[in-house]
């Protein structure tokens, strides 16, 4: 849910930075009126994202009735959260999911450099095909994959059956279910990563490759010595976004697993527990506390990544 908030925000941040670069050298002050143009965005973010965060923080200290009406109960929700045994398991589940989806980034880098090869026919078609899963509703994707994964009648197990392999019940067996959901998450994120990385690729000056070719560097050598280092800003951006959206895993899980699933304890994410508490158990105060926990974890992971980026991201 919050992925959408941060994605456009960070994208506009990049755009603003780029615009700033172009205008560098002009030192003349623009006055107050440019602010007028950002008022709609700032107001939108303030009202729909920042204010709810403040409210959630407040509600996490309350007992919140089913139809509203809150009562301040101090740290009770947080005390309960640290004693709740499902929370650590779901953090582990969420981490595993995020790591699997992160594996999609190297795949996207390889695919992007294949698609962006000069003279490749149908490049736009490939880009479109890879992008379609990203713009499809996760609920629709989940329903289709639920059928693909079906243990008795799904195409995957039918295919394995050709080799006399009895495939598992992918979405209802503990252990397999999380990987099954994460694989779909990886597949869905591929298109977005591909587009960002393709854009990064096109910013790399062609002369570098020409010079490398003159020096006799192989394609593989060019890939690792020119493409990857110069792509690191794009890779960094994609990593940040992937980790954030990984920690917000909910819709795929919800649609693919169904209710009363044996594998749920080993698969449920933090947001799933949040949903469960807020909308099934009607315990919205506690759910708000879980929401704050998710916010803190994402903020810490993002801050950590910004710290570490200095060591591996090359800004030319």
């Amino acid at each position: 849910m919050k992925a959408q908030t941060l994605t456009p925000a960070s994208k506009s941040g990049r755009a603003a930075q780029a615009a700033g670069d172009r205008r560098r050298g002009k030192s003349k002050s623009d006055g107050w009126w440019p602010w007028l143009f950002v008022v709609p965005t700032v107001a939108g973010i303030g009202v729909f994202y920042l204010w709810p965060i403040v409210q959630t923080f407040y509600y996490s200290f309350t007992k919140w009735g089913v139809f509203g009406g809150t009562k301040f109960i101090g740290l009770d929700n947080y005390v309960r959260m640290f004693a709740d045994s499902t929370i650590p398991q779901s953090i582990v589940n969420t981490l595993i999911y995020t790591v699997v989806v992160l594996l999609g980034i190297p795949i996207a880098v390889i695919l992007a450099s294949l698609i962006e090869r000069p003279g490749l026919r149908f490049a736009t078609l490939y880009r479109t095909l890879y992008f379609i899963p990203y713009i499809t509703m996760p609920a629709a994707v989940g329903i289709v994959w639920r059928l693909i994964y079906n243990g008795d009648f799904g195409p995957i197990n039918w295919f394995l059956g050709l080799f006399r392999i009895q495939g598992p019940y992918w979405t209802s067996t503990p252990g397999f279910a999380l990987l099954a959901v994460a694989t779909v998450g990886l597949w869905m994120s591929l298109g977005f990563n591909l587009i960002i990385i393709s854009a990064g690729l096109r910013e790399i000056p062609r002369e570098l490759f020409e010079a490398a070719e003159m020096d006799g560097a192989s394609r593989v050598r060019q890939f690792f010595s020119i493409t990857v280092p110069l792509l690191t800003p794009s890779i960094f951006f994609v990593t940040i976004v992937t980790v954030i959206s990984g920690f917000q895993l909910f819709d795929l899980l919800y649609v693919m697993m169904g209710k009363a699933n044996l594998a749920m304890p080993q698969t449920q994410s933090l947001v799933y527990i949040f949903y469960n508490q807020a909308f099934l158990q009607n315990d919205k105060g506690y759910a708000a506390a879980i929401g704050i926990l998710i916010l803190v974890i994402i903020a810490l992971l993002t801050a950590f990544q910004f710290r570490v980026q200095k060591r591996w991201v090359n800004y030319v």
Binding site: T62, G68, F153, G258, A260
Partner: protein
């Protein structure tokens, strides 16, 4: 903290004010807002102009509802009713309704069910409909008493019963014939089902066809019935204590575990991947326990191969759980006069007949059920009405959803055999009791 409250009371005040104005404008003679409920309802003028939203969750019933609206519009041509379907699968309907309730944007008329009625009534979200009764627009004697009681909370009547449902044993005649197993009768016991199921599963081994299964992702059409048939309870009659730790309840749960363990039923994982009702309609299941609302789809898929008999008798009885829906109006109705007129019409014999003829659900209006029984002549649908006679009321408390979620989390382990049934049942009982204690 209390801005919600202030806003709500402001809105209800505003709504009441608006209602006074609109009623005065069209010469209505009933009082407005909350007090409308207590005063006897009088039918509004026929030219009353209004727009109503009607929220339902079953797309299969939308055509019948549209027919009813068309009939209603013959009386009130200027009341426009928009039907809004939100699927109940994955509880999307209730998530939406609850959010709408919190923001005072509830639909003008909506479907209510057993698990939610106390929650909404006790939190003053619904308009009491006693006025409809005292105004003789609705006669509660027309509906099964169990349903009227279900929708009467603390002495006030909140929902006009719409339909009811019970569960029975569905079977596929063709699969029985091919395997040479004699067909079920209404006198069967649990043992008969087990032995016939075992023969069927053995005969069809390797073909993916099973003898018997129920929907274990919820209790109404499966384990609630067997728990009661074994002398157990889901919840005490006062709604304060869990019955899961009683010997009868454990026996009722063990019944399903035994079916899975002996291979009569598909595994818990299989039932999660493919719903038992889908397996039955695609001829992969010889017998299933299912609700009366699935007769339509089952008959469509199996045709004359569909057979239905009463529930097999357990150690104590062959009781089914009875449940039914009702039409309700929110407490802060924007147009109480029009909404009440519509709900009163939904409760009439004419509306019930339309439901009966489409064969989707058993109408709650007494005497119209016979039309439903005739809607699928190839099957003896009267078993559902027989089962309704001494059916057990649907288990519910104020926050039913909280312990329903516990059932969904814990019971799959018992059915799959990863933990002993008795241990899971006791664990569930203690967690459910803790959830119930939080209600008061």
């Amino acid at each position: 903290m209390n801005h919600n409250v202030t806003r709500r009371s402001f809105l209800s005040f505003a709504a009441a004010g608006a209602a006074v104005v609109s009623l005065a404008a069209c010469g209505g003679n009933s009082a407005a807002g909350g007090s409308a409920a207590k005063a006897a309802y009088a039918a509004p003028a026929k030219d009353l102009s209004a727009e109503l939203s009607y929220a339902i969750w079953d797309a299969a019933q939308k055509p019948a509802m549209q027919k009813i609206v068309a009939e209603f519009n013959k009386q009130y041509p200027n009341i426009k009713v928009t039907i809004d379907v939100t699927p109940s699968k994955g509880s999307a309907y209730w998530t939406k309704i609850q959010t709408q309730a919190s923001s005072n944007t509830l639909p003008d008329v909506f479907w209510m069910n057993g698990p939610h009625i106390k929650l909404y009534a006790q939190n003053n979200q619904l308009m009491p409909l006693d006025g409809l009764v005292s105004g003789k627009a609705v006669d509660t004697a027309n509906y099964p008493k169990a349903l009227v009681d279900l929708y009467t909370v603390n002495g006030a009547f909140y929902g006009v019963p719409k339909d009811f449902d019970t569960s029975a044993l569905f079977y596929n005649k063709a699969l029985f014939k091919e395997a040479g197993v004699s067909e079920p009768t209404s006198n069967w016991t649990w043992d008969d089902v087990k032995s016939a199921g075992a023969k069927l599963s053995k005969f069809y081994q390797g073909k993916g066809v099973y003898g018997y299964a129920g929907d274990l992702t919820g209790g109404q059409t499966s384990y609630y019935n067997t728990m009661i048939e074994a002398g157990g309870t889901v919840i005490s009659t006062d709604g304060k204590k869990s019955g899961y730790d009683s010997a009868g309840s454990i026996a009722g749960l063990q019944f399903w575990r035994d079916l899975i363990a002996s291979g009569v039923s598909p595994s818990m994982q299989q039932l999660t991947d493919t719903a038992s009702s889908d397996m039955f309609t695609s001829r992969k299941l010889a017998m299933t326990m299912d609700g009366s609302w699935t007769v339509g789809p089952a008959q469509k898929a199996l045709g004359d191969d569909l057979g239905i008999v009463s529930l097999p008798k357990g150690p104590k009885s062959n009781q089914s759980v009875i449940h039914g829906l009702a039409n309700v109006i929110p407490a802060n109705a924007k147009n109480p006069a029009a909404a009440q007129a519509f709900v009163a019409f939904l409760g009439t014999q004419d509306a019930a007949k339309i439901q009966a003829e489409t064969g989707t659900v058993i109408p709650a209006f007494n005497g119209t059920q016979y039309a439903w029984v005739k809607s699928v002549p190839s099957v003896e649908l009267s078993v559902f009405l027989e089962l309704a006679k001494d059916a057990s009321p649907y288990p519910a408390s104020v926050n039913t959803a909280a312990w329903n979620e516990l059932e969904n989390t814990l019971l799959p382990q018992a059915f799959a055999g990863t933990k002993p049934v008795a241990d899971v049942a006791k664990d569930l009982a203690s967690q459910m009791n803790a959830a119930l204690a939080k209600e008061s």
